[in-house]
């Protein structure tokens, strides 16, 4: 993560109300060293963040999840299993006749640490680890896409004003009034059929792309609205006036003057949006319109497992716990990031 305001030439002055804020914090941050001065806002934010224990712990958890996702093939190699093999069907002693694991606790053993999936008999731990990949890829891609759309349209509406603002504002209003869950379910098959002809094999990337597109379509409005408001107020400030007077082009004003001041809401919003997209993606898969077999997916695992609640609760336990931990860590991290950026805001 780059230090947000460090990239600007005049980071200190461009921050609204930053002079007093900076002075306050600089003294409180390092009371034992009165001679210490000249910390950038980025460094300040980093210090505040490190002091937030919850934030650091959740950041570690998030990093762990990311590392597991990145190194999934390596883990699979060390563990000696893969997410596609049907272990329970190859070795008939592992599952009963109707597909339930024969071992206690969902078939947990030294060979299968988290047990076996009822039915196909795949390794639950491998499914979970590769499922993180699915969730993360889709959530990160969606966050990036919605951030780009939200930033572009939000700033455009706020800075340009007038008819552009009116038009974008109404589009946002209309999209926000959509019942999103129903809309997502309805558009998924449409998007899928737009991307691939019905007589072709569905390529492996298809569910990723279509879920990302559908989630992005209804995911950018919140950020755009916030950015519109902030840039609307920034537009009238002296440093923008000054830039205009010195003959800066609108592009320069947007990218060099306004955008650096928006990094805080952008980062806070997108770190908070990411776990929301993880749950939204899982929700779609739970309802059977998201990522389909054989790509491992948490939402689908939970949906499958709910049928075995009474007969094989272990199968539900692991994806459920993993999901809770993942989303909780991301949300807490988002909160901490916001606190660190913007210590004055009240929750």
């Amino acid at each position: 993560m780059t230090t947000p305001t460090g990239a600007t030439t005049d980071g200190n002055t461009s921050r609204p109300g930053s002079t007093s804020d900076l002075a306050d914090n600089a003294t409180t941050d390092a009371p034992g060293d009165p001679g210490f001065r000249g910390l950038s806002p980025g460094q300040l934010m980093w210090r505040r963040f490190l002091r937030d224990r919850t934030g650091v712990v959740s950041a570690c958890v998030v990093l762990l999840f990311v590392a597991v996702a990145v190194f999934a093939p390596l883990i699979a190699m060390l563990y000696g299993k893969n997410p596609e093999a049907h272990y329970g069907q190859e070795d008939v002693s592992l599952l009963t006749d109707s597909g339930l694991p024969t071992g206690p606790n969902g078939g947990m053993s030294g060979d299968f640490w988290f047990g076996l999936e009822p039915g196909l008999g795949r390794d639950v731990m491998m499914l979970l680890i590769y499922g993180i990949r699915t969730s993360l890829i889709i959530a990160v891609a969606t966050s990036l896409l919605t951030t780009v759309i939200g930033v572009a349209l939000g700033i455009a509406a706020g800075y340009l004003g007038g008819k552009t603002d009116y038009f974008i504002g109404r589009v946002i209003d209309v999209l926000m009034s959509f019942p999103s869950q129903i809309f997502l379910i309805a558009t998924m098959p449409v998007v899928t059929s737009l991307l691939v002809n019905s007589d072709e094999k569905n390529p492996d990337w298809l569910p990723f792309v279509s879920v990302t597109l559908v989630l992005s379509l209804l995911g950018w409005m919140g950020l755009a609205r916030i950015l519109r408001g902030v840039s609307l107020s920034l537009r009238e400030r002296e440093f923008i006036e000054a830039a205009k007077v010195t003959g800066a082009s609108p592009a320069r004003i947007i990218f060099k003057e306004i955008l650096p001041n928006l990094w805080t809401p952008i980062l806070v919003q997108s770190t908070l949006a990411l776990p929301a997209f993880v749950t939204a993606e899982a929700g779609l898969s739970y309802l059977g319109v998201g990522v389909s077999e054989p790509t491992p997916d948490w939402g689908r695992m939970i949906a499958d497992a709910s049928g075995f609640l009474r007969t094989d609760v272990t199968f539900l336990l692991f994806p459920g716990l993993a999901m809770v931990l993942f989303v909780l860590a991301f949300n807490l991290l988002g909160d901490s990031v916001r606190d660190a950026f913007d210590p004055k805001t009240n929750r």
């Binding site: 069907q89 008939v92 599952l95 006749d97 071992g103 094999k201 049928g307 094989d312 609760v313």
Partner: protein, 591 residues
């Protein structure tokens, strides 16, 4: 019994099924008593049920009494769906037919003996019909004392009228055998139904008690056809046409008091039904209360809990929910009220013969197919017995014949399949597999993919929407190579279990020849078999056709479907009807 509708409904049900409540997690074991964890080990070969044609003596009432049964009380029934039709002429689906046993009679019907053997007997008729010219002309004589619910006698004119009204334009979903045998495939243009005042000459009524039906061609099993509820009797005087579907006029032991669509159906005794005329029905309870909208998971939980009114409850159609199968089988307390049996349905994986013309490739598919894995995903031994033939063991003439050693290797034989493919120089053949896009079928598809890829095929899965699944695979020019489909015989002879599916001349969009097999040898063998008058000899001919089909590897028979269901502890005489694959209401009594 239109298998497609019931199976489709089942698929949607499975798709929507979720489980609640919780339990501690312990290991599971196979509960079929073997003690070993050999998932899906092949059981003893399926025993064929015997069906025979009864005599006039067999057709005399009353029905054999159920030991220990007593009269009285109210029996409850819970099911997922309301009966979609009650007008006999509209009835094709098995659970509609099953409830109709209580208030609709046909010329013939099936009587089940204590040992499980079944006989075709005369229901309204004194015997199972007589033919003197090898099946072209059928003569039935009505019994004395058969009456409608208002006490008026059932006459041959009523029988004639009932057949005539199956031609009417509002009759859309019933069977069409008799109509097309009399008037050809386009029977509606030949005769418009009785409402314009015209009569059907092929059905004659020389007197009040005699009906004579004449077909242009011989149909030696027409007396089985007339046992379908679709040819049940409707009174001319009380025919309300479209409205008749809501509240039919009773000829059986019960009459309808109230029918609230999708909620409930209540029946009470029909005082004018005479048990002495009826060899089939034992009418023990005074009343029936049937409620709808109960999902399989819910009904399983209710039957397991067995509380209050649920004690006196059974279910025609709802089976034990898949996730409870192990638990139900392992529970000794549930054993006395668990029904298990073979349904008339056979699951096939149809090979599209118009796309895969090389017999070696088809044989490789049959050899490679993972029956054990797919069955395990759908409930294991309770889902069905591995099938080797196209005819179900419930069909007259069934013979066990395992051309490809499926019973020995139900998990598939990738090596043998690969050898066949190499021989045919077809390694890497693309197989487009179309499936119903439900969670269970996605998993089944995974198992099939795994097996076929091991055997050297290239596998392309194509998910289809559950609602349009049969429409999509029913297209003659569909672009799929392999797809699931079930078939159940409409009556237990080889004709309805083989002809609609494997007769090459029946290929059409939406028709039931899903495999698009058009083999002149099979076609002429079907024609020859239809003409054989002796039911046993005819059964042998159908079994021979079945063997031919297997040798040609025209498709992959998967399982003979089984049913596992529960009922309340307060009921006795609940039996499994193998002809419909449902719980039978005929001998039920309140303990």
């Amino acid at each position: 019994m239109s298998s497609r509708k019931t199976r489709l409904a089942a698929a949607i049900l499975v798709a929507g099924a979720l489980t609640v409540t919780t339990a501690c997690s312990s290991g599971h074991s196979n509960s079929d008593g073997s003690g070993k964890s050999t998932a899906g080990a092949s059981k003893a070969p399926v025993k064929a049920t015997s069906i025979s044609v009864g005599t006039a003596e067999d057709s005399k009432g009353p029905a054999a009494a159920e030991p220990g049964a007593k009269k009285g009380g109210t029996v409850n029934m819970i099911d997922r769906d309301d009966f979609s039709h009650l007008d006999p002429a509209q009835i094709y689906m098995n659970y509609n037919a099953e409830v109709s046993l209580l208030f609709t009679r046909q010329l013939t019907g099936y009587k089940t003996a204590e040992d499980g053997t079944q006989k075709l007997v005369g229901d309204l008729a004194t015997d199972t019909g007589t033919t003197t010219d090898g099946g072209k002309t059928w003569k039935f004589t009505l019994k004395d004392g058969v009456k409608w619910q208002d006490g008026s006698p059932i006459t041959s004119a009523d029988v004639k009228y009932s057949i005539e009204r199956t031609y009417a334009s509002f009759i859309k979903s019933g069977p069409t055998y008799i109509q097309s045998w009399i008037s050809g495939a386009d029977y509606r243009s030949a005769y418009e139904g009785p409402f314009g005042g015209k009569e059907l000459d092929a059905v004659q009524t020389p007197d009040d008690k005699t009906v004579v039906i004449t077909f242009p061609e011989a149909h030696t099993d027409a007396n089985f056809t007339l046992a379908m509820t679709g040819y049940g009797i409707v009174p001319k005087a009380h025919d309300t046409k479209e409205e008749y579907d809501k509240k039919p006029f009773s000829s059986g032991p019960y009459q309808i008091t109230e029918h609230v669509t999708d909620r409930s159906l209540d029946l009470e005794r029909n005082p004018n039904w005479d048990p002495a005329t009826d060899p089939i029905r034992n009418a023990y309870p005074d009343k029936w209360h049937m409620a709808f909208g109960v999902q399989a998971q819910q009904s399983t939980e209710r039957f397991m809990a067995d509380n209050g009114d649920d004690k006196n409850t059974f279910s025609f159609h709802n089976q034990v929910h898949t996730t409870y199968i192990d638990q139900v089988k392992a529970d000794e307390k549930l054993k006395p009220r668990t029904l298990e049996g073979l349904t008339p349905y056979v699951d096939y994986y149809y090979i599209n013969n118009s796309r895969i013309k090389d017999q070696k490739v088809r044989e490789a598919l049959v050899k490679a197919f993972p029956h054990q894995q797919t069955r395990q995903l759908q409930g294991g031994t309770s889902y069905g017995d591995y099938a080797t033939s196209y005819m179900s063991p419930t069909v007259l003439g069934y013979e066990s014949y395992d051309a490809y050693g499926i019973l020995k290797k139900p998990q598939g034989d990738p090596e043998a399949a690969k050898a066949l493919l190499t021989e045919a120089n077809a390694v890497g053949t693309t197989i487009v597999y179309a499936y119903n896009n439900t969670p269970v079928q996605q998993k089944v598809t995974e198992a099939i993919r795994d097996a076929l890829e091991k055997a050297g095929f290239k596998f392309v899965p194509k998910p289809l929407d559950a609602k349009t699944y049969y429409d999509a695979i029913g297209q003659v020019n569909n672009e799929y190579d392999l797809y699931w489909g079930g078939w159940g015989a409409d009556w237990p002879t080889g004709y309805t279990s083989l002809q609609p599916v494997w007769d090459g001349r029946a290929i059409a969009d939406g028709a039931s020849n899903y495999a698009h097999l058009n083999d002149p040898e099979i076609n002429s063998a079907i024609d020859a078999a239809v003409k054989i008058a002796d039911p046993v000899a005819q059964g042998k001919a159908w079994a021979a056709i079945d063997k031919q089909l297997q040798d040609k590897a025209v498709s992959i028979p998967d399982v003979y479907q089984r049913s596992l269901s529960l009922y309340g502890s307060g009921l006795g005489g609940v039996e499994f009807d193998t002809l419909a694959g449902l719980q039978s209401p005929l001998n039920i009594y309140v303990k």
